[in-house]
Amino acid sequence: MESFLKTLTALMLGLAALGASAGGTDIQIQDPWVQAAPPNVKVVAAYLEIKNNGDKPQILTNASSPAFDEVGIHQSVMHGNMVHMEQLKELTIPPHASVVLNPGGLHLMLTGAKKPLNIGDQVPMTLTFHSGQKIEAKAIVRPGQTEGMEDHQHMNHSGHETHKH
């Protein structure tokens, strides 16, 4: 019974992590997550997929989180073997398409953590689009690489290790 409850809780947390508030919108947020970092780190990245099911382009103009001082739309760009980050003013999701933010490329950069994050924590975020539409999402904190980590916690994840961009 206890394990059943645990499974149920895990399931519900999982659903909550999917997080999109659906109600009559063309925009869908999928699998929002925050790359787990050591407790002394104040800057982390969040990743997610933004789906636009509508006929018009959607433009992400702003993101914020009560758990951080600031959230920026960022992109890691490689020039040769040099990597640097660029701040984007906005991010356009074409109609009937989706944009995926993945490690090593597009990300939401969360700066000024108000408290240390632990694996499994949920980070509430608000994404604001050009249309004025606001979408709430809860990003779950998890390691990008699981087996390499020094036993913090074991969890399933959906293979973010082979991203190329």
Partner: protein
Amino acid sequence: MKNQSGALTKKILALLLVIAVAVTAVIGWRLGKGTSVRPPAEIEDYLFWQAKDLTDFKLMGADSKTLGLNDLKGKWSFIFFGYTHCPDVCPLTLGILGKAFKLMEKDPAAFQEVQGIFISVDPKRDTPELLKEYVSYFNNKFTGVTGDAAQLDALARQMSALYTIHPKEPGKSEDSYLVSHNSTVFLVDPQGRLYGRFPPPQTPQEIAEVFLKTRTFYNERSKKRWNLF
């Protein structure tokens, strides 16, 4: 007459012997050359055409420890330049390297020889103590070090690992500047020579497999060297 022909036979035999020895030596030398100098095709692209001797350097770690060229000797070192305020590529790469180390555990002798070194090119924000905590999160075989610009350049230049600290954007806090850095993982051999590199984007499987093959190649090659002399 019988004696004479016996001497001739001996001479011919001796000559044949000399030829046989010479041919064997040439074949052996060519074989040795073929297998030892050229690495297997699947690792060739990761290795420097010629291993490059590094000159000494001094970087600062936690607990007043320093890291220099001697600390690289006797180990295979995986070196990565970055900074802890890097939310995307640095944790990604350290995570990949940490997982690669886990995969190397299947070869205990090799695993025993590896170490990871994270060099922060942002000494203003990254103290050695902070780096220690940071790197141990990813793998307990990682060491975090940093230094002033001259100390960093002493090693970074030898690896062509350029980095740039950008000015902060106007209106933002003093501590919000960004840093561009090389995202290659460098491989230094147990003699302290720059031996190979893993350019981005890397995967744990790639790093682990290429390293294990590289180490085998390296060990066989040094064995052959000993046979020759």
